[in-house]
Symmetry: C3
Subunit: 457 residues, 3 copies
C-alpha cells in the first residue's frame, strides 16, 4: 500500500526534523558549550528555549502537514488497461469504469453456394459494452453494464442491459455473498467465463442451452477449493413486466477444485437449471460458432405447450503450465402437456497451448477462467502472448419428432494477446456434419474464417 | 477544505524550516559566541554567511515544493456512495459520474382474477440511469442523464434521455440561475422530488397530470425561504422534430418556506402549467401506483380536438423531527374547440415516521425533499434508517362525458435505508374504490404488494 | 510537467535538508570551535557523529518520502471543460471521459405555407454523445463514443454508435498510425472537422455525399505539412451482419499544408471514395442545412441497380489571423448495370471573421479545424469569442433522368464561444433557388432561422 508508505514517510519526517532541528546535535553542542563555560547559563537557557520553541512549533506543524498529506492521498486513482479505477485508502469505497469492444469479420465458404448465398461475408461490432461498478461502505458492491452494440437483424437497437446488480458480502461466513438484480443464472463453465476470456471467438454450440440472464436473487459461497451458488429468477430485464404472470426458474452450480494453484488446476462442476415458462414457449437455436452471418444452423423453432424444462450440465477443466483443457456436457429435457417430451443435448472438448511462456489464469470467485495477462507486453518491447487452440463441439436438437438439426464442428484457433486487455483471434471452423432433414442447410459442410479484434479496459 | 489545509501546511513548513535552520537558535548561538569572543568576527561572518546562503536556498526550494504540492493537489477525487466526483481546488471545474438502479417485483391479488389475469405478477428493472454532470468556469453547469431501462411494453428500447441541460448562475442576483435543455417543467412537489427520494415506490396517482420533461428554457430563483421558477417549453426530446410545428407550453412554480431548518419545515407551493398541443391530442392515464403490471387503471384514452389545457397545483409539506407529511391537489382543465371542456383532478396526503433517529432532508434548491442519509450505517456496524409511511390518494378522470375512471388507493409503506444511496421499500396498496363504467376494471379492488431494491451512486 | 517539477522539488528537499541539518554551517561552526579549542576533540567528534548519524537517517527517510510522493502523484487527474481526464505520470496510460450536447431550435418561413406546412418549427436535441477514450501501454489508443439523441422520425431509438476504434502508433515511421474499428472514411474537410467545430450549425449541403462511418481498417500519416490516409471499409455498424455479403469500399485523402502556423494556414486536399454496394441500392438526400424540420429538400430516392459509385473531392482552406475561409467541391459518379450512370455534384465556399481577437485553430492530426478557445472567457470576467460567417452552398442531384433536385443556399452565421467547449450559434439561411420538378418543394425559397446551444466537455 503506497498510502501506508506515504503516511509512514510523513510520520518519519515529522519525527526526524524535530530531532534534527531542535534536538540532538545542537542541544548536545549547547550543553557542552555550557559545561565548558563558553556560554553562560543564561545564554544556554536562552538558546535552548529558542530551540525548544522551534521544536514544539515544528511538531505541531508537521502534524498538520501529515494530516493534509493523508487527506490528499485519501483516494487512489489508477488507469490500468485504459479504464478508470478509484478507491479510498481503506478500500471501503471503490468505483471502476471500463468496457469491452469486440470487432469481428467473417468469410464463409459454403458447400451449396450455388443454391443462393446462405451465409453473408462481412463485419460486425460483436459487443460494445461499458460498465460502472463499485463498493459502498465495504460490504455492498454493485455493477451496471450496458451493451451498445446493435447487431441484431433489425440493426437499430442497442443490445441493452447485461449485468445490473447489487450485492452484499458483510457476513461472518467465509466467501458468502448474496446479490439481487439482473445477471446470469449460475450454469455452465463457458457461460461463467466472460466472452472476453473464452478461448475461441464464440462459445461452443451448446451455448444454445444457456440459461442467460434474468432478474433474480442468488446466494453463493466462493472458496479456494470449492464453490456453490443457488438462485431464483424471474425473466430477463427486456421481457419483464406485462399483464401476464412472468415465468420463473431456479438454478444451482457446485464446483470442486482439488488443485487450484497458479498454472495448475483441476476443476469439476455440476449444474442444474429449472425453468417454468410464461407463455409455454421455448426455442433453442445456434449459429455455427460464428456470429457475423446471423444464420442459425440448428434451430428448433418456437416449441409450444412447454410447461417447464430442466437443463443439466457437467464440467471438467484442467490447466498445467502452458496447457489448458476443458469439456462440458449439457442436456435439456422439456415437459410438455399434450405433445412429446423431447431431450436435446451436446458437448464440446477444447484444448489450448501457449507458444509463449504464459498460462491461462483461473479464479475461484465464480469458478471460471480469467483474462490472459501476457508476460511479454507489446508497447514495452515484448511480443505478447500467443496461444493455439483446438475444439470439437456437437449439439443435437433432433428428438421427439422435432428436427432442430445436429451440428458437429471442428475449430482451430489462434489467439494473440499483445497486452492485458487486448486480443486478436483468428478462428477457422470446419463443419464436419450438419444433419437437419428438410432444411436447405442439411448436409452443409461450410468452411468458416472468423477474425476478431478485442479491447477490454 | 483539505486543499486549504495542505497549502497552509506547506506554507508553514516553508517558513518554519527557514527559521529553524538558518535563523533563530543557531543565529542566536553564533551571535552569543561572537559576543563572548569564542569565535572571531571572521569566523562569525563565515558561518553566518553559510547559514544565510542555506536559508536563501531553502526558501527558494521550499517555494518550489509548495508549488509542486499545489499542483499535485489541484484536483480532488472522491467516491462517495460508489460514484465518482472530481473537482478542482477552487471549485471552478467539477465532474461527477453516477447513477441509479431500481429493481422492482410485484404481486397482485385481483378481485376478478376469475375473469382472466388483469395484472401480471413479476419483476421489472424500473430505472437504470447513469449521469454525468459538471461545472465549467465557475458559472456554467451541465447535466446529462440517460435511462437505460427498457420496461415499456415493447421491451426492446431504452427509456432514453431524462435530464440534459446547461445552466448559468454567474449573476449578481442571489439565487438566480437560468438553464436551457431538456428537463422537467417546474410543477408539483412530488415531481420535483427525485424518484430516488419519494416516500413510496411510485408517486401518487395525480402523477397522471405531470408536466414531464420538455426541451425549453427556465429562469429560477432559489432562496432559503422562497423559490420561484418560470419556463417556456417545446416538446419532449423524443417527440421533437418532425414536419409539423411543435406544441409548446409555459410553466411556473412558487414556494414559500416560513420554517426551513434541519428537521423542521413548513413548505407551501403553487404551480401552473399551460400547454398548447401539436396535433390537438392529449391523454391522461395512470397505473395503480405500481409499475410492474403495465396496466393503466385510469385512462382517458387519446382525447382529440384539444387546443390547449391548463394544469394547476397546490402543495403543502411539513417536517418535524422524525415525522414528515405532504399533500397536493392538482386539477387540469381542457380547452376543446368542438367538444366538451372536461376538468379532471385529484389529490393525495401522505405521512411518514422514522423508527430510527432520522429525519427527512429538504433543500430549498428546487424546493424539494432530498435523499435520506441514515445516522446508523450498515457496513459501519449500524442498522440503517427505518421509516413507515401511509398515503391516501385519489384521482378522477370522469368528466364531461369522458369515462377515464376514478381510483382511490390506500398505501402502507416501509422504507429501509441501509446507507446513503441504498434503499429497500415494501409497499402494500389497497385499492379502495375503482369507478370506471364499462371497463372490466370497474369495481376492481385489487391488493397489491410491491418490493423495490434501489441503489443510487 | 508538474510531475517532473514535483519529483525535482522532492529531490531538492531531500538534498537540501541533508546539507542544512548535518552539513554546512553547523559542521563549520563545530570545526571552528574545535580549532579554537573551545570544544575538545572528543566533544567535537561526539557532536559531529550525532550530526552525521542524523544526516544519514535524513537521507534515507527523505528517499522514502520521495518514493511515497512519487507514488501519490503517479496518476494525474484533470477536469478541463467539465469532462474528466486521467493519465499516468509517464503518459503510457490515459483515460478521458467526455461528451457533447447540441440543442437546436428552428423557425421556418415557407414560401408556400398556404399549401400546408412543409417545415415544422420546433426544437431538437441534435446530438447527445458521451465518449471514453484512452491510451494503453503507450502505443495503443482507443475511443468509444455513443450518440444518445433520438431525433430520427421514429423518435424512440438512440442514434447509436459513432466512433469505436483501436489504434496503434508504436512505429518508427514518424506520424504513422493504423486503426481498426468503426469510424469515418477519410473524405472531405467538413467531415473531418467535428460537428462541434463546424463554422455553421449544419455542414454544407454536399454532406449528402459524405462517406460516413463504416467498420474498417485505415493507415494514416500525419505530419505538420502533409497528411495521407488510406482505408478499406465494410458497412456501418448498424448495417453490418446479415445473410448477404456486405458492401465494401476504399477511401483515401491526401492534404498539403505549405503554411501551417498558429493563425496562419494554407490547406489543400484531395480525396476519393469508392464503394461497392451490398444490395445495389444507394440514396442521396439532404435537409436545407437545418435539421429540426426533418424534411429532405433534395432527395434522389433509393436508386436501384447501382453496382458501385466513386466520389471525388477537392479542398482548400486558409486562415489569416481573425479570418478563415474554406471551399470544397465534390462529385459522385454512379455505375449502374442496366440504367443511366448519373453524376451528381456540389460545392460550397465559406468565410468567417472573429470580432474578438481570436483565430480558428487547426491541427495536422487528421488535417482539420479544431475547437475555438476564446482568449476572453465568460466566468473569468471575459466576453468570449465572437465570430460572423457567410456561406454559399449548392448541390445538384438532377442528372441522367433522376430528379433529386438542385438547391442553392446562402447562410449568415453568428457564433459566440463563451468558454472553450461552450458555443451558441445563430444561423439565418436564405434559400436562393430550389429546382426539383414535380415536387411540391419546387421553387420553394424558404427563410430559415436556426439557433443552437452546444456544450462539449
Amino acid at each position: 500500500m503506497e498510502f501506508k508508505k506515504l503516511a509512514l514517510a510523513a510520520a518519519i519526517i515529522a519525527g526526524l526534523s524535530t530531532q534534527a532541528q531542535a534536538g540532538s546535535e545542537l542541544s548536545t553542542l549547547l550543553m557542552l558549550l555550557h559545561e565548558n563555560g563558553t556560554i553562560t547559563t543564561e545564554q544556554y537557557k536562552r538558546v535552548l528555549a529558542e530551540a525548544n520553541a522551534t521544536e514544539q512549533k515544528n511538531v505541531a506543524e508537521k502534524q498538520e502537514l501529515q494530516a493534509a498529506l493523508d487527506e490528499a492521498t485519501n483516494v487512489k486513482v489508477s488507469v490500468g488497461k485504459g479504464g478508470l479505477a478509484v478507491k479510498t485508502r481503506d478500500g471501503s469505497f471503490t468505483t471502476k469504469i471500463g468496457g469491452r469492444m469486440q470487432l469481428d469479420s467473417g468469410w464463409y465458404g459454403e458447400d451449396r453456394s450455388g443454391s443462393g448465398s446462405t451465409l453473408g461475408d462481412g463485419t460486425e461490432l460483436r459487443r460494445a459494452r461499458l460498465y460502472m461498478k463499485g463498493t459502498i461502505y465495504n460490504d455492498w458492491f454493485y455493477k451496471f453494464e450496458y451493451d451498445f452494440a446493435n447487431n441484431s437483424s433489425s440493426g437499430t437497437t442497442a443490445k441493452g442491459i447485461t449485468d445490473i446488480w447489487l450485492g452484499y458480502n458483510g457476513f461472518d461466513f467465509e466467501g458468502l455473498s448474496v446479490k439481487v438484480g439482473h445477471f446470469r443464472d449460475p450454469f455452465m463453465l463457458q457461460d461463467a467465463v466472460s466472452d472476453n476470456n473464452t478461448q475461441f471467438t464464440e462459445r461452443a454450440s451448446i451455448d444454445a442451452f444457456t440459461a442467460g440472464r434474468h432478474i433474480g436473487a442468488m446466494a453463493s459461497i466462493d472458496r479456494k477449493h470449492w464453490t456453490a451458488a443457488l438462485g431464483v429468477f424471474g425473466e430477463s430485464a427486456s421481457k419483464s413486466g406485462g399483464s401476464d404472470d412472468e415465468g420463473w426458474g431456479t438454478a444451482g452450480r457446485v464446483t470442486w477444485m482439488p488443485i487450484n494453484e497458479k498454472g495448475s488446476l483441476i476443476h469439476l462442476g455440476l449444474a442444474a437449471d429449472y425453468r417454468s415458462t410464461r407463455s409455454n414457449d421455448v426455442r433453442f437455436k445456434q449459429q455455427p460458432e460464428t456470429h457475423v452471418t446471423g444464420v442459425n444452423f440448428v434451430d428448433t423453432g418456437t416449441l409450444t405447450d412447454v410447461d417447464n424444462y430442466l437443463t443439466l450440465g457437467a464440467e471438467l477443466a484442467v490447466v498445467q503450465g502452458r496447457f489448458s483443457g476443458q469439456t462440458e456436457y449439457v442436456r435439456v429435457k422439456l415437459d410438455r402437456d399434450t405433445a412429446s417430451d423431447p431431450t436435446f443435448d451436446g458437448w464440446y472438448a477444447q484444448a489450448g497451448w501457449f507458444l509463449t511462456n504464459d498460462t491461462r489464469p483461473y479464479s475461484f470467485k465464480g469458478a471460471k477462467f480469467k483474462g490472459v495477462k501476457p508476460k511479454s507486453i507489446v508497447g514495452k518491447g515484448g511480443i505478447g502472448a500467443w496461444e493455439v487452440a483446438l475444439r470439437y463441439s456437437t449439439i443435437d436438437l433432433n428428438d421427439g419428432g422435432i428436427v432442430g438439426g445436429e451440428m458437429d464442428n471442428l475449430t482451430l484457433g489462434l489467439n494473440w494477446y499483445p497486452t492485458a486487455g487486448l486480443r486478436v483471434s483468428a478462428n477457422y471452423i470446419k463443419m464436419l456434419e450438419m444433419d437437419r432433414e428438410g432444411s436447405e442447410l442439411d448436409n452443409e459442410e461450410a468452411d468458416i474464417m472468423q477474425l476478431r479484434g478485442q479491447w477490454a479496459f
